[in-house]
Amino acid sequence: MSILIQPNTAFLVQGMTGREGSYYTAKMLAYGTNIVGGVSPEKGGEWLHGKPIFDNIRTATEATGANASIVFVNAASAVDAIFEAVDAELELIVCVTDGIPIQDTLRLRAYLDRHLGTRLIGPSSPGIVIPRIANVGIVPTHLGVPGRIGIVSRSASLAYEVMTAMVDYELGVSTFVGIGGDPVVGTSFAEILMLFEEDLETSAVVLIGEIGGSSEIEVASYIGSKVTKQVVAYVAGQSAAPYVRMGHAGAVFTTPDTSAAAKIEALQSAGARVARSIEEVVPLLAAR
């Protein structure tokens, strides 16, 4: 079943009763995602979209057997919600919430480094999609047909572009993972590439990076040494100027080595095929 989500993965929605949580839970359930309940403190005992709501994760997991969560809780409370999920030993946490203070995320990262049984995707992640099996997060539910291309991206909108374009080339998606646009994220490009490399259901990978940070440089090194599958990449922000934050909190570069040019160079040297524009990604993929 490709990566990250397995047949036994059962999700709780943290913040299910909030406006965003409720809207997207209905969509995720309609898609067929295995959501078994919601957690909203003080709303335990209620029902929403046919699923039980609990006050906390422990009672939720005891009642439902859930082992994963999707976080729609607002930025002020999201980190507390994630700490709770880590302490409850959930295996996968997908954090959609945007705008989490960076010191909070750093504390979370330090904590996760000591709790290796839990994987965090995000924050600021649009989610994970395994077409026809699971849509976890806010990715439009009409996107993604089943196939063998793994997609990992910092940008949600560019991944949507690629998934849309792939349809015309009769290419489909094994798993799409949005790692999020923040400067500090729970799971990096390299970690997702490692999973795709070992995944029998993925033949090639699309990687969508952008300016800021060194995640693409790190993954380039991994691609050059350990990845055998073809990688097609695009790095957004070639036209960006230093110190200008291009939307995402993490999309800002101050030194040449975190610019788009440096990342493109590193990825090309590692053997990835780098598209010059977002619209070149799928033709390159189809041509391999």
């Binding site: 203070p101 960076i102 010191q103 439009p140 949600a156 909108s157 849309t164 070639q238 200008v244 010059r276």
Partner: protein, 365 residues
């Protein structure tokens, strides 16, 4: 959010970090009065959110007034000097720099110290769950060859600086220079404090310190509910829903031909509803030669986007040539509807076509 030096110093004082007894002045006369109270010689620090430290020394009241007059008319890095911080001049035996910041390449909080006059420096990585250890502060002292009789003072200062960093939700705090005076005291002469924008919801006092005028000079800022304007040097405005899409649009413009270059890159984070698109259009600069709209229908279908665009154009018709690129659900039909209604503003389905069409339109007119 960057704070001014005087704001950083007032926060440092709350955390028992030694700062000078300075006064703020925004006119040459006020500067002179401040210099009178503080007694020359004084240091006049331009309060501006540039990276460099701009200051002059005044040995007399008249000099203080003249220097202030000169500085208040200048710009540094595009920021206007509206305020001056007047401080007593202290003689420094040695100067150091001390920084605590989020180091993105290491994904960690790092404290570092250096001696200004030589290459001595030391860094320590701080575990955010534990905080800075006393031994780490001592390590910094030793790394800059600070004489040991000053270590206790230095350690206290570093620990207080870390408390300040955490409690203000800073991304970066800098003391530069940190002076060791002839009387053996460590004193802050220059300082900067950058606050994490994401944390402002829980730092209401700091949020109120925002310099709204300086913000207008920022190359990337939120101008409306989830509408962000990013300024690049060119003159083609790019409006897109999604940060990545906005960057890719700018990239496509930039790679087309040398005379075609992205200027304002405007991201709508969320649904491209009428209000957000109106705000985006409002912030396209008056000197923009053309506008590309690159809109993906995800939560809203392309038909709804086109509907919003039609209403936008009927309220505020852009004064320069535009192209509209639509993608997502029902995009082809939406393009056809748009192009029929606005034949002079092509509605196309690929970014390449949108860039080409606008470039062509501008080349022939």
């Amino acid at each position: 959010m960057r704070l001014h030096e005087y704001q950083a110093k007032s926060l440092f004082a709350r955390f028992d970090i030694p700062v000078l007894n300075g006064e703020l002045a925004n006119t040459p006369e006020a500067a002179r009065s401040a210099a009178l109270r503080l007694k020359p010689p004084v240091v006049i620090n331009a309060q501006v959110q540039a990276n460099e430290r701009v200051f002059r020394i005044a040995d007399s009241l008249a000099e203080a007034e003249q220097i202030s007059r000169d500085l208040l008319q200048t710009h540094v890095d595009g920021f206007a000097v509206n305020n001056l911080l007047i401080e007593p001049k202290v003689s420094a035996v040695k100067e150091y720099a001390l920084t605590i910041e989020f180091d993105r390449s290491k994904c960690q909080i790092v404290a570092s110290a250096s001696a200004v006059s030589n290459r001595l420096n030391r860094s320590e990585t701080i575990d955010p769950l534990v905080g800075i250890h006393v031994y780490q502060a001592r390590s910094l002292a030793s790394g800059i060859d600070l004489p040991s009789e000053h270590w206790a003072q230095f350690v206290t200062l570093v620990l207080n600086l870390y408390r300040c960093y955490v409690q203000t939700d800073a991304t970066r705090v800098v003391i530069m220079p940190l002076a060791l005076t002839s009387s053996g005291d460590l004193t802050v002469l220059g300082g900067k404090l950058d606050i994490d924008d994401n944390a402002l919801y829980r730092q209401s006092e700091l949020a109120e310190m925002r310099d709204v005028l300086a913000d207008e000079e920022l190359p990337s800022r939120i101008v409306y509910d989830r509408v962000r304007v990013m300024r690049l040097p060119g003159d083609i405005t790019c409006i897109a829903n999604g940060a990545g899409l906005a960057m890719a649009t700018a990239d496509a413009v930039a790679s087309h031909n040398p005379s075609f270059s992205p200027g304002a890159v405007i991201e709508i984070d969320g649904e491209p509803n009428l209000e957000r698109m109106q705000a985006a259009l409002r912030f396209s600069p008056t000197n923009a030669r053309g506008i590309i709209f690159n809109l993906f229908g995800d939560r809203l279908s392309a038909m709804t986007v086109v509907d919003n665009l039609q209403r936008l154009f009927s309220i505020a018709l852009p004064k320069v040539p535009c192209t509209i690129r639509l993608a997502g659900q029902d995009a082809a039909v939406a393009c056809a509807i748009w192009s029929a209604r606005f034949p002079d503003t092509p509605g196309v389905s690929t970014l390449a076509e949108a860039v080409e069409a606008l470039n062509h339109h501008l080349a022939v007119t």
